[in-house]
């Protein structure tokens, strides 16, 4: 892959150490929030942040192989519908729903992956863009199952206790720690080494013994399965699913989160998620203005700051250090 924007500036930490300690501290602080702030709105925002972070991190995993999917929300939607149908139609428990939410998009990704992952960057973007649109149309047209354009309402909470926003906050925080932790661990393992090698030089990686296509398909399927779980968590949280929640616009939002935060390390999508969800709170009531600002940020980041906010932060930190040093 030759896209300069994806060429890494910094190496993801291969071993734990300091990043692990920072992550543990962040999680500890997040776990204390409901004990200090009982505000319903803040807790709901927290759940949204965690769910979006899972989705964005799962897209990051795929992006690290050098492929930007513009259809990621479609897989999130498939997960959401799969879970909701498993729980509401089959009467199975939420855990079975989550399993279905992982397996369904994962299988679909395994089926199309070997075909679409042969394509180079720009064609992959186009195919996933169209694929996402097709999936959305299936949600609209397959009325007997998906409820058509209206979607499905009255989705129950995973268990009665999760009607409490604080409980859902912990559920999504737990899922976030588990899934984002899994992705971090994966990227820091030998698999992550292979992923980076494939993105930086597919030809060289292949000739060093890395099974390129199998690796890409596996990672694509994992990323799609994980975003499916995020879809399930979202569906049972906002209590309805409908096609517009999983359209190309939503896929684009997940890309925006990654681009703004930075695509080179897993920290990028997490920072991007925060920025993406917190900024609108500051501009509440000015939905259009938010979108305009995001649009302009996207232009600026793509034109001048391919490493995103994380790179900007890194540069600022360097500058401060240099000042302090001299």
């Amino acid at each position: 892959m030759t896209d300069a924007s994806l060429s890494p500036l910094a190496l993801a930490p291969r071993a734990g150490g300091r990043p692990l300690a920072i992550a543990a501290a962040v999680v500890a602080v997040l776990a204390l929030v409901p004990l200090v702030i009982a505000d319903k709105f803040i807790l709901s925002l927290g759940s949204t942040v965690f769910i979006t972070a899972i989705a964005a991190a799962s897209l990051h995993l795929i992006i690290r192989t050098g492929h930007i999917s513009l259809g990621h929300a479609a897989f999130m939607g498939i997960g959401a519908y799969a879970s909701v149908l498993t729980v509401m139609e089959l009467g199975l428990p939420f855990a079975a729903g989550v399993l279905a939410a992982f397996v369904a998009p994962c299988l679909l990704a395994l089926a199309i992956g070997p075909l679409v992952l042969r394509l180079t960057g720009k064609y992959f973007v186009l195919v996933t863009f169209l694929f996402g649109e097709i999936v959305r149309m299936v949600f609209v047209e397959w009325k007997s199952v998906t409820g058509g354009a209206n979607g499905i309402f009255g989705i129950p909470a995973p268990a009665p206790v999760f009607n409490d926003p604080a409980a859902y906050y912990y559920l999504s925080l737990g899922a976030g720690v588990l899934l984002v932790g899994f992705i971090a661990r994966l990227l820091a393992s030998e698999v992550g080494r292979a992923i980076d090698a494939v993105r930086e030089s597919e030809r060289l990686a292949h000739c060093s013994g890395i099974p390129v296509l199998r690796l890409k398909v596996t990672i694509f399927a994992l990323g799609c399965g994980i975003v499916g779980i995020a879809g399930a968590l979202q569906g049972h949280f906002i209590r309805y699913v409908d096609p517009t929640s999983y359209s190309v616009v939503q896929s684009l939002n997940l890309v925006v989160v990654n681009v703004i935060g930075g695509m080179q390390t897993l920290v990028g999508p997490l920072v991007g998620t925060l920025f993406y969800l917190i900024l609108p709170e500051m501009l509440r009531g000015y939905v259009e203005l938010q979108r305009i600002i995001f649009g302009i940020i996207l232009i600026i980041v793509m034109a001048f700051l391919p490493g995103g906010l994380v790179e900007l932060g890194g540069r600022a930190l360097q500058l401060v250090r240099r000042r302090a040093g001299s």
Binding site: S7, R193, L204
Partner: protein
């Protein structure tokens, strides 16, 4: 003694163009085989076919007596065939050592769950691979720059690193595509030494170049390619004396020179 690599009637077409036609040759274990020929003769394509980068249109490749025709590159690396690229290919944004580690990938990867949980087995494999890479860096003199970014190395060092990446998989056969292209005379001599030392480790070598002088001092045998086909094969002396080679490749001027 049977051949380590045996290529039979290899053929590759690109649309209307036949890049490699009816190519057959053997390489014995421990040999250095040179492949020589003008630009566009099909040398790189031949290596691409043997290393699995592109599949042949027809023909057969045997390695250690087994049919490996059309296997993808990563499978061939597993069997002991590696290659380098004509244009220097390293991971420019990574350290020299990380480049080596990526080359050692097959010896490094303990399985999905083992690496995910960093089991004792995974750690042992990593320690072994690290030892292999460190030894190679030391052997070819890159230890000093092990933590530098590969992209910041001088051109000659990058070529060496390309070879280290290939050697890190502990191959039986290494194929080098124009390892001295773009290097000055002193560096070229150094690479020639290096290739001989690689063979000294029991690794069989196929090396491409179009400079006969460089090849004569290095190879046991030379395969001459012309317009995709094999023109001659033999010791450098035999090949240099072959009238077909003199006529087609070295040209009229050399033919006259060889005459006396």
């Amino acid at each position: 003694m049977t051949a380590l690599l045996s290529v039979t009637s290899l053929h590759r077409q690109f649309g209307g163009l036949t890049a490699v036609r009816d190519l057959s040759f053997d390489v014995a274990e421990g040999e250095i085989l040179g492949v020589i020929g003008p630009n566009g003769a099909g040398k790189t394509t031949a290596i691409n076919l043997v290393s699995g980068v592109i599949p042949p249109t027809s023909g057969r490749v045997e390695f250690r007596g087994e049919d490996v025709t059309g296997l993808p590159p990563h499978r061939l690396v597993g069997r002991g065939i590696v290659r380098t690229f004509q244009s220097t290919t390293v991971y420019g944004d990574r350290t020299v050592r990380e480049n080596g580690m990526r080359g050692a990938y097959l010896g490094l990867y303990p399985g999905f769950f083992a690496t995910l949980f960093d089991t004792a087995h995974a750690r042992r494999m990593r320690a072994e691979a690290t030892a292999v890479v460190d030894e190679l860096l030391d052997w070819l003199g890159l230890t000093e720059v092990a933590e530098d970014k590969a992209g910041s190395l001088p051109y000659g060092h990058q070529k060496t690193l390309g070879m280290i990446i290939a050697l890190a998989s502990r191959p039986r056969l290494i194929m080098l595509d124009e390892p001295v292209a773009g290097l000055g005379g002193g560096d070229a001599d150094h690479v020639r030494d290096t290739i001989k030392r690689v063979r000294g480790r029991g690794i069989t070598v196929i090396v491409i170049d179009h400079n006969m002088r460089f090849m004569s001092g290095l190879c046991d045998r030379v395969l001459v390619m012309h317009q995709g086909a094999r023109l001659a094969v033999g010791t450098p002396q035999q090949v240099l004396a072959d009238p077909a080679v003199i006529e087609a490749y070295l040209g009229k001027r050399h033919a006259a020179l060889a005459g006396h």
